[in-house]
Structure formats: C-alpha cells, structure tokens
Amino acid sequence: MRVGIDIGGTFTDTIIYDDDTGKLETLKLPTTPNNPEKGVENSLHKAFYKGISPHDISHIAHACTIATNSIIERKGAKVALFTTAGFEDILELGKMRRPDPYDFLQDIPQPLVPRRLVRGVPERVNSKGDVVTELDEQKTMLAIDGLKGMGIEAFTVSLLFSFLNPTHEQLVKKLILSKFPQAHITLSSDLIPIFREYERTSTTVVNSYVAPRVSRYITDLERSLNNMGIEPDLYIMRSNGGVMSTNTAKTQPAHIIESGPAAGVIEAAYLGSQMGFKDIITFDMGGTTAKMGIIRNGLPEITSHFEVGAIARSSQILTGTGYPVMLPVIDLCEIGAGGGSIAWIDSGNLLRVGPQSAGSDPAPVCYGKGGTEPTVTDANLVLGYLNADFFLGGDMKLDKEGAYSAIEEKIANKLGIDVIAAALGIIEISNANMIRGLKVVTTSRGFDPREFAMMAFGGAGPCCAAELALNLQIPKVIVPATASVHSALGLLSTDIRHDFVATNKHLATEIDVQEINGIFNKFSAEGITLLEKDRVNIDDMVTKRSADMRYSGQSYEINIPFREGEINNERLSCLVEDFHDAHERIYAHTMPGHPVEVVALRQATFGVSRKPDVKIYEMSDSDEPGHAIKDARDVYYSGVETFLTSQCYDGARLLPGNEVSGPAIIEMSDTTIVIPPEQSAKVDKYRNIIISTPS
C-alpha cells in the first residue's frame, strides 16, 4: 500500500491507496504545529484502527511546511557564510531596489545570516572561470577558527564565479571540515551552479538555514514510523512537483520549500490527463490566500524565480520582501485574498475588499465567533450561494442575519445602496482580484485562457469558479470529486525528480554539440546513480532536457525544451526556432536576425511512479439529476439583477452522467459549487463535476 501525507496549516490529510485493489482510504486530522510528526502518527494510528496493517505500507510520500515555516518564523539554524573578500555584505545589499518605493517607512527583510557571521576569504575566479587570485588558505583557516565556540549549526560557501570553477568552494569546504568534522556545509556550486551572485548566495543560505531543522524532523519522523513497525520508502515532496529521498531532502532542503502547494498542482495535472485535459489553470482559493498555476501539455509550469517568505498583497507578491530561492518551483501566483477577506469603505468612498482577512479568528461574521467585519464568505451567504444549514456538511451552522446586518451597516448604508447590491459588489471586487491573479499566470505570460480548462479546489474556489470562467471565457471548470484531499492525493501521483543545471553561455551559432552532449551525459549518469539509489528501474527513468535562452543582450531567459531525440545540429536549430516562437507568444515580438544565446542547460530526470487508478463509476442511465435535489432557494447572480429560484443539489447523490442546468447550486461536504444561469454542469465517470461556459 502507498500512503500520501500532506501537512497543511490546519489539517493533516492522509491518503492510503491499495495498488492491488484500487481501494482508497482518506483521513483528515488536525495538524499538530509544534511537533508535526505527531499528527502523522495520529493519522497512521487511526488508519491501523481501521484495519490497515503497518507491514502493508511500502511507500510514503510526504509534503510538509517545516522548511517554509522555519523561514517565516525565523526559527532556522545559526549559519556562517563564506564569501569572496570584499563581498561580505551581499545579503544586505541584495538587488539595490526597495520593495515598495512609495513607502518611506518600509524596512527590508533582515538577512538570514547576520553580518557578524559572514567571513570574506581572499580569492578570485574571473568570468572565464580562471583563478586570478589563489585562495588564501591561511587566512581562511583563521576565519574558520574564529567561528569555534559560536554555536554554528550550518555553513554556506558562496564565492564569485564558483558556477564556472568550484575548486575554491570545495577547498573552503575541506578546510571547514578539518575544524568542524560534522558540519552541514552547502556549496553554491553544488546546489545551484548558475550566475547572479546575490540570488545564488541567498538560495544557498536558505538551504543551510533550514537544513538542521528539516533534518531533525525527518529523522524524528523516520524513528516514529519505525516505532510503529512501518519501514517504508519515505519520499519528500519537492517544490518542483517531484519527490526526493529523505537523504537528499536532508542535505538539500531548499528543494522542499513549496512542498504543499506543489502536490495540489501535480494532482490537477494527473487527474486532468486522465480526463483528457492537458492545458489547465489551477485555482486554489482558501480563507486567506488564493493560488493560481498553469499546466501546459500535462506538465506544470516551473519557474526558478521565487522568494520564500515574501509578503502577498491583495493583488500580488511584493518582490524584495522575501528571500530569493532560484531553484525550480511550480510556478504559482499567490495573492493575499480569500473567503475571509474583509470588505470595507475607504476614505474616498470606494468599496474595497482585503487585504485584511478575518481568517479563522475572528472569522467571518456568519461563523458567529465574534467577527464583526463583513467578508466575502458573508456576501456569499447573503446572496444565497452558501447554505446556512449545510456548511462543512452541516457540521457548522451559519448566521445569515448576522452577515446581512454586517453588510447593511458597514457597507450598504455608507454607500446608500441596498444590501444585496453591496453583497454583490463585494463578490465582484473579490472576483476582480482573482481575475488579476489568473491573468498573471495566463495573459501576462502569453497564454490564452480560452484554450485552458480551470480546475478549482480549496474551500472557497468552487463557489466563484464558474463566474470567473465566464469572465475569462474559460470553456470548462473542473471541480474534482476528491477536492478536499486533493493535495494528499497528488503525493501519490508524483514522480521522483532530480534537476540538474549548468551555466553554459554561448551564442546558439557557436554551440559545440559534443560539448553540450557531454554535459547532458554527465547529468544522465548522475541521474541514473541517484535514481538507482531510489530503487527505480532503468525502464522507468525518463529525462527531459531544456535550455535557458535569450536574445544576446537580454538578461531574462526563457526555458525552451529540446525536442525528443538525440541532440544534434538539427535539434539545435529547432531549439532556436522554438525560442523565437516562445518569445513571440510571451512578448508579442521576435527579432529574427538577432543573435540568440544559450545561457544555461537544464535536465530533469524522472523516476516514473505508478499512479493510483482514478476510480471509474458506472454512468447513470439518465442525465436527469432530479433525485439529488435537496430543496430550492433564491440566489442572486451577477448581471441578473434579481433573485432567481435555484435548485439545490446534494453533490453526494448526483450520479455520473447527470446534468445540472444553471441557475443551480451543488452542495458538497466541504465546498459549494455555484452554477450561474446559462452555465451547466455535468458529472463525469470519475464523479468530477465539469461546468461548461457558454462561448
């Protein structure tokens, strides 16, 4: 049996899947923030109670927030950083730009390594990779000696141009080990051999900063699994959508920063491919944030520009407020707005939604937990989208009158409009925020949303998804049947993935095919070694190669995959052709005669895992959904300007093949799907609900 365990902020979700019978067991228990492995233990004990034997568990894939939390809570390790002498202030100098130029009172994030723990070593490699100043070993030893007794838990070495010539970094490592034999040391040339010294150093420091805590956590987890009699292959989810062995996770934990969100996108990609959708926009909206991602041709979009711990404003991440991590991560746009976002009237008499959120405390007014400020969820209730008596499957009763009077008092009266218009305004503005995020991942990157399906999950996503799809003319919205444990399920659909990168700057016309094949062959050899350690069969290994390219003189690159087959001159000219096409798609112009450069070569090596079969249900004889009707209620839709009586369906009783025409509401145990007039929904053979948008 294989198990997926996803530790989120509120719940620890567990999926247990039997490859032989196809049986799927799901568990949802509270997260135990102080020692998260306890929550895992609790979940497994509950599984044993349900009759699963520890010996049957052969494989566990795990997503956790421990690395990210170490940074957000500033509870990482005491790290010492070695730089080239003269560049000790690299972390504080950053990129010279202030995050918000219009805020005179803003501060910048404090470096993860304070200046007093930074040591500059005399040495220099030039831009050709040649040593122009030998490393001064004596001075380096003195610097290392000076760190004795300071309680250093991890070391980072990041020297200029080490991506071209790592010998000095390796020498510093050797010297550190001679004094600190047990030290956890990360070399920038090992972790991320790519140019731009600030970003490379920051990434390497993040790795050192989270390593001891992640390492301890994984060790504790392994121990408690062993104590329970489970000796599985344990894998940790990476930010790039693959999984890695625990040993790699302990040495390169910077790769697991975006562990949780990655799993959700992977599941969307897998489920989508089963359903025949290859191009998908993922839309995950919860109480305080919403995350949007892109899957193209079955593969999630990956970026190497990411900041951990950055501040999310209502409509965007404020770059420069976090710590850059230049490792491949599933590209998500995160915005600080969700169901709990508070609506208010500003001093210019405009209705605003967010960035303040009521969160889970004091929570939306309708939760009756003492919240007094109207939220998006309150507006959803007033407009009839939510059912006061069937929230979280009826576990929680909502206070509709409270929501109504909060909107009346705080919004409607101040604007001199009626309560319904105010509630609708809240939803439309919240939707405008969501549309902005969706545009960031689509139109801003040259993708036409009309060519995508949208997969909506998270508690608040399915409520507004159909309306958003109408706005952006996205033809289909998929609400997965397993929406509530979507991310945990993704853990079982993911492949083992190792990424390799080498900076290799050449004009495309001057590339030596032999040289780059040499580099890729080296990646493949390393990949095979790593995957063999992961006990992957050679037949299950797949490689994908790509190049970071740009027009000569540009400083942003586009990642272009090599076409299938051996790399030769013909493939190279295809690569350049594909680069021009991608440039046209993303930036609306090309420069045909202009020299093209390859800046870096990348390879992803996958150990393809067996995917859980998605359960197929028998199609119902009839598309008639009448048997699942619970009742009818009045619902107010955007653009209709009156309440419409809408049938309300019990999602659990809808059968594959049933069709529901809008206006209608489908209530699931953990989310509510709103189907506006002129849109309709169909239950597919997997019990996913697919909403169609009229074109």
Binding site: F87, L93, R97, L160, G348, T443, S444, H594
Partner: protein
C-alpha cells in the same frame, strides 16, 4: 452621472492589471541592461484628454511624467488628426518629456471611431548620441551635447512605418541595434495596452469605462484631499543642496520649497530655488512635477491610486528660468539627483508637520558610472552603465536602509557576475562602509563602496553622483551621514574626481573607487538603545570608537561587552556638555 463605486473599483483593478501587462512586456522584451536589469521605464494608460489613469508600479521618477508628454502630443495633433494605427514618438525636456535618454511612445486607442484612451510608455535608452557614450555627460552645458532631440512625430501613420525617421534615429546613436530593440519593446507594450483596453470597452461599454476613468481621477483627488486635511494648516519651508552643477565646482546649488498647507490643498512654491545653472543638473518641468508627486506619494497612504487625480490638489509654482523649470537649451541630463534633492527639500519642510512620516537626509542616488570603449577581446564597442545605492535617512522608529536606490529611480543593481561576463571590467569590492550612517536615536543607512577595474586597453569614464561635498542631513538632533567620494587609482597616482565628470580617459589596470554617502540620523544619538549600538558594532555597521565618541556607549575591546556603568557616566557627561541639552541621557534599557 457619478461613477458607480463598485464598477470603478473593478475597473481600477482591470486598468492596473493592464498597465502591469504592458510593463512586463516592455521590461522583458527590451535589449538594454538599463531597461531590463534596472527597469528604467514606465507604462501607463491615459484618458482621451491625456490624464494619466493607471500606471504600473515602476520607476517613481516617472510618476505622472507621461502626462505632460501625452498632453503635448494631443496639443500638437489633436484627437481629430489622430488615426487608428498611428503611433507617436518623442523625447525632450522642452516639449513635455524629460532628459533626452527618455523616449516616449504613445498609441491612441479608438473605439467605433472615437479616441477613448492613449497607451503610452517612457524608457531610458542606453545611448541617444551626444558628446559621451551613454548620453549623460556630466559636463554638458547645452541640450545639443546630450543626444538626439526627437520632435513629436508619427512613427507609424495609419500602420505605415516612417522608415526615414528610424534611419535618422539609428544614424545618430552609438548602439543603433539596442536603441531600435528597445523601441520595439516599447511598441509591443503599447500594443498590448491598446488590445487590452478595447477588450475592457467591449465588456463594460465605452460609457461605463469613461465614467469609471473619471471616477478614478476624482477618487484619488478626494483621497489626497482627505489626507491633506489631516495636516495642520501652515507654511513649512525646506531646503536641500546639490554639491554643484558639474561645471562650477565650488558653487553649491540650492533648492528651496515653501509648502503651504491650506485645508484640502498643498502649494509647493519653488520660487526661491536657484536660477537655472550652466551644468546638466537643471530639471525639466515634467520631472519637477513628477518629483513632487513622488515625495508626496511616500507620505500619503500607499493605496491611493497613482493617477493625475492624486496630483490635482498640488499646486506647483516653478518660475520659468529657474533650476526646476529651465529655459531651452539648458542641459538637463543629470536631473535625477535634482529630483532627489527636491524630494528631500519637501521632506525637510514637511518634517515640521508630519515628523513620523518622513526620512532624515537621504543620499541622492544612485551614483551612476558609465564606461564606454572598445573591448579588445571582441573588437566591439561597449557601454556599461552601473548604479550604486546610497544610504537612506533614518525614520522616527527605524534605522535608515543601506545601499539602496532610495529616491526617484528605484533601479535594480547589476549583478557583479552579469557585469563581468558582458564587459571587460572586474568588480573587486562591493560592500557597506562602516560608520558612514549618520548617528541618531535611529541611525542613517550606510553608504556603499564599489571598486571597478578596467580590463581592456582604454575606455572613457563618466560619473554622476552627489553628496561628495554636502552629506545628507540629520533630523531632530541626528547627525549628517558621511559624504561619498570618487577616486581613480592609476599605477602611479591617486586622483580624486568630482561628483559629476565626463570624458575621463582610463587605461587597463586603473581602479575606479566609488563611495556613496550614508543617510542622516534621526533624533539624539545619546538616546540610541545601547543594545542596538552593540548590534551595530558586532555587525560592522559602526566602530567601537564611534560607539564611544558619537553615541557615548562604551564597548570593551576584545570581548565586545557593553560597559553599562561607563556608558551611563559618559552619556551623562556628553548630555551635560551638549549646548542644546534639553534632554537627559535616557534610562539604560540593556540588561546583561
């Protein structure tokens, strides 16, 4: 009819998203380092009268700067003379734009035959000709030395491109390929804006969109007026200085502002600022307006949309012929420091009215260095432009930030590795300067040292920095920051260079050492928490000597412990000595 408060908010989001899409397109497609790596460009959408409605959060220096340019285009051609498929080009300080490097591209947007909006952008071009590579000669005395001057023209007339104009432009610059590559990026961006705007009009209807654009202008105006109302009425005066004009080195340039707060409006009277000068630090009116808008945007709440409505309550008096509104053909290329100085004068004035919303004296920056020549490895001509951030002034409750581009340009630094891979130079040092931040209860940010060595036979060096003579001021008892310096280290001599200089020939092996100024302190240094002083010492921000001599905190050599008893004595003594000893040494908060 008044705009609907809900649709207006929805369209505010949509128009801002659109301006951002334009900005992403421009930055990503451009070719030059200055646009791509440093982001020296801005995109905006305007209404049919030329008012700016929505600007991408880009370069503060460009805040509202496109308005005067777009209005000038409208004045020359008029809506009735514009056609679908026209795209306009211009630059120049005396026709509504800014220094010649900044080229404006504008696309009128038509719906059912009517002009509904104008999508425009401005980008700093790496070289527009003139007397020095990079077109920013610190010793220019007239506009003609600064590059090619482009009258308001149709680059495209009804989709037909003006090839002659393009040839003319390319023939007058050092890097024609880069110039045209960046103009193409600007064209791509305005087209994205045009397409997106038409989609909005189709969705919401032209009338609603127009009403909401008006609504957004009124909204920003109202919000700004509401904020002004919270400031006590009165007249507040402030000054700031530039070291000199780049020509007459011994003569500082003085900026003066008289801010009158009158209920719901603000007047910025710049009449007592110096007359226009010979050197290139004069500032065109568009940039003056932009600098006022910027200084105020930093004081106003961050969520007021940056459009022309937000600027409407500000009245600017800048007499013709003054430094901040010069007469043709005064040189203006180095106006970025003047812009910072104007912002600083305004903060200086308003520190009396809103002391907790301002910064103390802040380095005018970034310090710009240009190196141009032939790389003898490749045989090709190169132009390197590089910024270096100064220290910012301290605030009422926080230290100043160090080594950042603080004022109106907010550019990105160039990575050392990127620079060395592309140019024949080596950066040998890039670090903060200890003790350069002005002392205060809150300390000014530190200045930065960046050393560049030339690796090719010969090149021409141009520098533009300020605060080499006048260091940034402290506020409310805080001290000045340390001033910056420019040193050229040749094999056998050490030459001290002025803040603004051009046409300096340098040879292989020469080292250019640039130090930027530190920011001013805020409040009495004797009131600084000894715990913070201790942190400053161990983190190399200040020396032990400075802790003792300036802050009165005694830190023992060797074990670096704070000697509390000695500190108390020393601080009492210093406080008593202080002529303006209105405050006693504070209770020591450190417990060890």
């Amino acid at each position: 009819m008044a705009a609907n408060p809900i649709t207006t908010e929805v369209l505010r989001n949509a128009l801002y998203t659109l301006a951002e899409e334009m900005q992403v397109t421009l930055v990503k497609t451009a070719l030059s380092i200055i646009v791509k790596e440093t982001g020296d460009c801005s995109c905006a959408l305007h209404d049919a009268r030329g008012n700016q409605i929505s600007q991408a959060s880009a370069l503060p220096m460009h805040l509202g700067i496109l308005t005067t340019a777009v209005k000038a285009i409208l004045e020359k051609y008029g809506a009735s003379e514009m056609n679908e498929g026209d795209i306009y080009i211009m630059n120049g300080p005396y026709r509504g734009a800014s220094h010649l490097n900044d080229i404006v591209i504008a696309l009128p947007i038509f719906f059912e035959g009517h002009l509904v909006s104008i999508a425009a952008n401005i980008a700093h071009h790496q070289d527009v000709g003139g007397m020095t590579p990079g077109s920013m000669p610190g010793n220019a005395t007239e506009l003609f030395q600064e590059g090619i001057n482009i009258p308001i023209s149709k680059l495209y007339a009804a989709d037909i491109v003006n090839e002659t104009l393009i040839e003319m432009l390319k023939a007058n610059v050092r890097l024609p390929g880069v110039l045209w590559g960046d103009i193409e990026a600007q064209l791509a961006a305005v087209k994205i804006g045009g397409r997106g705007f038409i989609n909005l009009v189709k969705k919401y209807g032209a009338k609603t969109v127009m009403e909401s654009m008006d609504g957004l202008l009124h909204y920003s105006e109202l919000r700004t007026q509401n904020e002004i109302e919270t400031i006590t009425n009165g007249i507040y005066e402030g000054v700031a200085f530039l070291d000199n004009d780049g020509i007459t080195f011994e003569q500082p340039v003085r900026l003066h502002v008289k801010v009158t707060v009158d209920d719901r409006s603000l007047t910025f009277d710049l009449s007592k600022t110096d007359k226009q000068v010979k050197g290139p630090v004069n500032m065109d009116y568009a940039s003056t307006r932009s600098s006022v808008a910027y200084a105020m945007a930093g004081i106003m709440p961050e969520d007021i949309p940056h459009n022309d409505g937000a600027i409407a309550p500000y009245k600017i008096i800048a007499p013709k012929g003054c430094l901040l509104n010069p007469n043709f053909p005064a040189a203006v290329n180095a106006r970025s420091h003047t812009s910072g100085a104007l912002a600083m004068a305004i903060l200086n004035a308003l520190s009396q009215a809103v002391p907790d919303k301002v910064m103390a004296g802040t380095g005018l920056g970034p310090g710009i260095l240009l190196v141009g020549g032939v790389d003898n490895q490749t045989g090709k001509y190169f132009t390197l432009v590089e910024g270096n951030g100064p220290g910012a002034g301290a605030r009422a409750n926080i230290d100043g930030i160090s080594g950042k581009d603080v004022f109106c340009s907010n550019t990105l630094g160039t990575p050392v590795e990127a620079e060395e891979m592309d140019y024949p130079v080596m950066i040998e040092r890039y670090e903060l300067i200890k003790d350069s931040g002005g002392a205060g209860k809150f300390r000014g940010g530190l200045g930065v040292r960046r050393d560049l060595r030339l690796l090719t036979d010969e090149a021409v060096l141009t520098m533009q920095s300020d605060n080499l003579i006048n260091a940034p001021d402290g506020l409310f008892g805080g001290s000045k920051g340390m001033n910056g310096s420019h040193i050229l280290l040749k094999e056998k001599e050490k030459i001290s260079m002025p803040g603004k200089c051009g046409e300096i020939r340098i040879q292989a092996g020469d080292l250019v050492i640039r130090n930027t100024a530190g920011g001013g302190g805020y409040g009495n240094p004797l009131e600084r928490d000894p715990e913070l002083i201790y942190e400053d010492v161990i983190n190399e921000k200040i020396s032990i000597e400075s802790a003792r001599n300036t802050y009165g905190v005694v830190i023992q050599e060797g074990n670096l412990q704070v000697d509390l008893a000695a500190t108390k004595l020393l601080r009492n003594k210093k406080a008593a000595k202080s002529m303006a000893s209105q405050s006693q040494a504070p209770e020591l908060s450190i417990q060890k």
